[in-house]
């Protein structure tokens, strides 16, 4: 069984099904990339994993431990193991960069302020923001904000990091600084699921690419196979569209 084992997962918004029978395994230290057209359910899959949307069917297990999303204890435990970064508005606007990083470890995990703060500073330095501890989100560029958000996610010491199009809202010249940070994490062996439209980047860091369409996984494989030898018509169409865009 994989480190993260998603089996037959389905979810719906109201009556509209948005995920259907998703089965996916992620190994420890692996970087899995989710690609697919808009509305294909990539964000929804990540939201289900962190318990922001209750699954309708299927199972999720982390490190062999089943997650029961209806059970508070189990849900909390799952959220302890995942950390997620969204496309935008991740950071609490009323807090400095440093406070954004320290808040959850101190008030949720009840770790001591001094210990957490030292670690938070180190993390901010690691993502290249050693001079921005006391800046508020609206005083930071979009790229800097996303790097703070990554530092905040890391401060939670997650087993698996979920990144949902974290560069999509950024100006092109700011994308690379964020991607560099993710590269660093990949080198550190961080287990990640990355939703991204940066295909060159996906190709470079992902060990496995998952193509989704209309709430289903259509194809899974190593990046070279997915991009160079797509098997299904839908993936062919998708890659062709993307190549045309480049």
């Amino acid at each position: 069984m994989s480190y993260l084992a998603i089996d037959g997962l389905s979810a719906a918004y109201g009556r509209q099904p948005v995920l259907t029978d998703v089965t996916l395994g992620v190994e420890k230290g692996e970087v899995v990339s989710l690609i697919g057209p808009s509305g294909s359910g990539k964000s929804t899959l990540l939201r289900v994993l962190v318990g922001l949307l209750a699954p309708a069917a299927g199972s999720v297990a982390i490190g062999g431990e089943q997650v029961d999303y209806r059970d508070r204890r189990s849900l909390r435990a799952a959220r302890d193991r995942f950390a997620i970064v969204f496309q935008q508005y991740n950071l609490f606007q009323n807090m400095t960069a440093l406070r954004n990083v320290t808040i959850a470890p101190t008030i949720v995990k009840k770790r001591t302020q001094t210990e957490v703060e030292a670690e938070a500073r180190a993390l901010l330095v690691k993502v290249g923001l050693g001079e921005k501890f006391t800046s508020y989100p609206d005083e930071l560029s979009g790229g800097q904000q996303q790097r703070v958000a990554i530092a905040r996610a890391l401060a939670l010491r997650p087993d698996i990091l979920l990144l949902d199009e974290i560069t999509s809202a950024l100006d092109p010249e700011l994308v690379n600084e964020v991607l560099d940070t993710i590269r660093l994490l990949a080198q550190d062996g961080m287990t990640m699921i990355i939703v991204s439209h940066e295909m060159a980047f996906v190709r470079e860091v992902a060990s496995k690419v998952v193509f989704m369409d209309q709430g289903r996984i259509i194809e899974t494989g190593p990046p070279a196979r997915i991009f160079d030898a797509p098997e299904t018509p839908r993936l062919k169409e998708f890659t062709a569209k993307i190549l045309r865009h480049r």
Binding site: R47, A83, F86, Y89, L98, I107, R121, T134
Partner: protein
């Protein structure tokens, strides 16, 4: 005009009249401030009930929505009469002041609920998501993340509506509540000129509203200026 004023003034500002006006002033002040304050507390609770992420309990939400929609739409005078008759039917023997205060509280709650809801809506959904995904509880998220961002949106209109209620309280004179407008009417019928009666209460209304406005602006400034913790940046 000034000569009539000069002639009337000593008698108008006589001891008993001053006592009369003073009591009315306190009543207007209590009606508007206490009413708006209690109304805000209830309205705040209604806004919490209505929020899908705080209380995902449908009956509570529906109640809050219905309350706000109904009480915002009925004119103050009609609400006043309704409360008056409700008191009668229930057999409560509250004073007219209590009837008026209840009316102010009930209507203020509806307006406050909308204002607070607007404050919550100003906070991006991802802020709730981020907090929830980090295992932060609802209360922590509300107090530490959402409200600090909402207050600057909530407070200016909240002070605005408080000033609005200072004006609405004059309607309570219709049911004989001893407040400023009532006093002006009574003194006017006792033979004092409308100028001195209404001129005096005009100044008194102003004396209530103006500091309210200043206080509102001051609190708003407080909230929008940032406290920056003194921390030395650590160089990489």
């Amino acid at each position: 005009m000034w000569s009539t004023l000069r002639d009337e003034a000593p008698r108008f500002f006589g001891y008993y009249n001053l006592l009369f006006i003073g009591e009315a002033f306190l009543h207007t002040l209590a009606l508007s401030y206490l009413g708006a304050l209690l109304g805000f507390v209830i309205g705040f609770a209604l806004a919490l009930f209505r929020h899908p992420r705080l209380f995902p309990i449908l009956p509570l939400r529906l109640f809050a929505i219905a309350y706000v929609e109904v009480f915002r739409r009925i004119p103050f005078l009609v609400k006043l009469m309704c409360v008056f008759f409700a008191f009668q039917i229930a057999g409560w023997r509250g004073s007219m002041f209590t009837v008026a205060l209840t009316t102010v509280v009930l209507s203020a709650a509806a307006f406050a609920a909308e204002i607070v809801r607007g404050g919550f809506d100003a906070v991006h959904r991802a802020q709730w998501d981020a907090a929830e995904a980090m295992n932060m509880g609802r209360a922590d998220t509300l107090w530490r993340v959402v409200l600090p961002q909402s207050w600057p949106v909530i407070l200016p209109p909240a002070f605005g509506y408080t000033i609005g209620f200072v004006k609405s309280t004059s309607i309570a004179s219709q049911i004989g509540v001893l407040e400023l407008t009532y006093v002006a009417k009574v003194l006017n019928t006792r033979g004092f000129s409308a100028l001195i009666c209404f001129g005096t209460i005009l100044l008194l209304y102003f004396a209530i509203c103006w500091p309210t406005k200043l206080l509102g602006e001051r609190i708003e400034r407080r909230l929008t200026t940032r406290v920056r913790p003194v921390a030395e940046p650590m160089m990489a």
